[in-house]
């Protein structure tokens, strides 16, 4: 039930908006915009390379965090990213390496969905010691 809800939410929240080709990829990477944190404070825009996410191959996430109120980059927040397979009760095998590449802008390496199935990516955004989470479910197959 819970996962259904998440899937539903993410379908609603994910708009396959403006597309920019990912670096070095022939496919067009989709920019996922409008992923809201649970309390609506932040918007996460993110894309992956490769796209779509392949089973059991390392991929990179490029993520931008915006203040939902103003739409401008949230330059004063920290981001951490993780992912899990809730139905299998396990997460990823590596802690992703996150690098800030600009104001409100991060590059996340060492993401690996080693099994096919339903994964959830968590974007945890902290400001002033309060952590807000935006999450999205993804099926890789």
């Amino acid at each position: 039930m819970q996962t259904r809800l998440i899937v539903l939410l993410s379908v609603i929240l994910l708009t396959h908006g403006c597309s920019t080709p990912g670096p070095g990829s022939t496919e067009r990477a989709r920019l996922h915009s409008g992923l809201l944190s649970n309390d609506g404070t932040f918007i996460v825009e993110w894309e992956t390379n490769p796209d779509p996410i392949p089973v059991n191959e390392f991929f990179v996430i490029d993520a931008r965090v915006l203040d939902a109120g103003t739409g401008s980059p949230a330059a004063d927040v920290m981001l951490s990213v993780d992912a899990a397979m809730p139905q299998h009760r396990h997460g990823m095998n590596h802690t992703p390496a996150i690098e800030r590449v600009g104001p409100g802008h991060w590059r996340v390496q060492d993401m690996l969905f080693h099994m096919p199935g339903d994964w959830v990516i968590y974007f945890d955004i902290s400001r002033d010691e309060v952590i807000r989470r935006a999450q999205v479910s993804i099926e890789v197959d």
Binding site: V55, N56, R89, G91, N93, A97, D110, G117
Partner: protein, 433 residues
């Protein structure tokens, strides 16, 4: 046009005859399993694609002279005709070990080495057997000394890597000095460093050889090629029964969740609940597997992030460091490849099962499954397949049998360094390359 129509009619005919139709989803999944891609580069080993290094490594692989009793080589346990396994439940070198010998075909594709992944590079794996008491039972100093005192080996080594330490000096390099011995600890720091450097160079040569151990096309690969090109002749490489087994494999049997990709392994670790099978001193051996493998590889000075690596700050090094360890890793073992699985009985990390059907029966019922607490990964459920389905799955597994690599890779090479009966330590003569 007419040709196309004929092909379609023919295809249709074959599909009907065999009664196997694959859905687009099944087809997409099946295509992920073949072909095997080229061997990836190993940036931590500058010699991984070097033919001379591979030849030296091949000589080392088949040479029993490095073991304490002169009777054990890598190929004692990794026997080419058995797809580089030994037919035993538990390996035996100088003495019985504690785990089953895995095969080495396509091994250079792996992310981690050993059942518990306690090595993160192919070359660092090769260092373990030398001093392991139940494998070669030797020491690094004796290992490097034998290279030094054999003209052929010495010439091959110096051509590739430069000079060897002056191993003839037994005061500086005492015989029998293995990594934990007092003699080793008493050695000069620079001398220890030099021996470690030589030993890791030799291990990189062994890895260069191992990375050439590629299997050829299995019937399954011919089938996939046929499926990809809608070519019924290619698809005929699999019997209808094997095709039904494949459907189960990528479908309701759920095998591809872990046995994914062209090598039928995700290269990662899972606890599939096998109860301990091997007895040590009358007690079942409870093996922590990956739970212990993670700290071992992270602490090892010989890992991808160590000073003997040729890429100590690269992706591999970072990923070894960032590997997470949790309760779910207790009793988890690396998913084995299913390629050439017919040749590699018995099965599992303690050789639990003698036949592939026994393996399938385990997955079918999960009888005797040992559940961890709630930390256990929740993937496996009893499959409850009927007899015909089990036979189909088995037929499919049999179709993963690849021809072995070329004959010249399956035995000791005669050049460049014929192993000498009576090595002459003072001779400087190299053999022609």
């Amino acid at each position: 046009m007419l040709v196309a129509a004929c092909i379609i009619a023919l295809l249709h005919g074959v599909a009907e005859e065999a009664g196997i139709d694959f859905t687009p989803q099944e087809k997409r999944r099946i295509l992920q399993h073949s072909p095997i891609p080229p061997v990836p580069d190993d940036p931590t080993n500058d010699w991984d694609k070097n033919p001379g290094a591979a030849l030296l490594g091949q000589a080392l692989f088949f040479d029993t002279g490095f073991s304490r009793n002169g009777a054990v080589s890598c190929s004692t346990c990794h026997q080419p005709p058995r797809a580089f396994t030994d037919g035993r439940s538990i390996a035996k070198g100088l003495a019985p070990g504690t785990r089953h010998t895995p095969g080495l075909l396509n091994v250079a594709h792996q992310r981690w080495f050993f059942w518990d992944g306690r090595a993160d590079t192919l070359w660092s794996q090769a260092l373990h057997p030398i001093e392991h008491p139940s494998e070669f039972g030797s020491s690094r100093v004796d290992f490097v000394r034998r290279i030094h005192s054999d003209d052929g080996y010495r010439a091959a080594y110096t051509d590739l890597f430069g000079v060897l330490p002056p191993m003839e000096d037994v005061e500086r390099f005492p015989p029998g000095s293995h990594g934990t011995s007092d003699a080793w600890k008493a050695m000069d720091q620079a001398d220890r460093e030099a021996v470690n450097r030589a030993m890791t160079n030799l291990a990189k040569a062994v890895a260069a050889y191992e990375s050439r151990l590629r299997g050829g096309n299995a019937p399954f690969d011919l089938f996939v090629e046929g499926l990809r090109n809608s070519d019924p002749a290619g698809m005929a490489a699999l019997s209808p029964s094997a095709q039904r087994g494949l459907k189960l494999f990528v479908g309701k049997a759920g095998c591809r969740q872990c046995h994914s990709g062209p090598l039928f392994t995700d290269f990662e670790f899972h606890n599939i609940g096998l109860p301990a099978h091997h007895m040590v001193d009358g007690q079942p051996l409870r093996d922590p597997g990956r739970f212990d493998g993670i700290p071992l590889v992270q602490k090892s000075a010989l890992s991808a992030h160590g000073s003997f690596s040729d890429d100590p700050v690269g992706d591999k090094a970072r990923r070894t460091r960032s590997t997470k360890r949790g309760q779910e890793h207790w009793g988890a073992f690396k998913t084995p490849t299913l390629r050439n699985i017919t040749s590699t009985a018995p099965y599992m990390h303690q050789g639990h099962f003698n036949t592939l059907m026994d393996v399938l029966l385990y997955y079918n019922t999960l009888e005797d499954m040992e559940l961890q607490d709630h930390h256990q990964e929740a993937v496996l459920k009893p499959l409850n397949l009927d007899e015909a389905e089990l036979a189909d799955l088995l037929a499919f597994l049999h179709s993963l049998e690849s021809p072995l690599p070329e004959e010249s890779l399956l035995q000791a090479p005669s050049r460049p360094h014929q192993v000498q009966e009576h090595p002459h330590p003072d001779s400087n003569e190299g053999v022609e390359q």
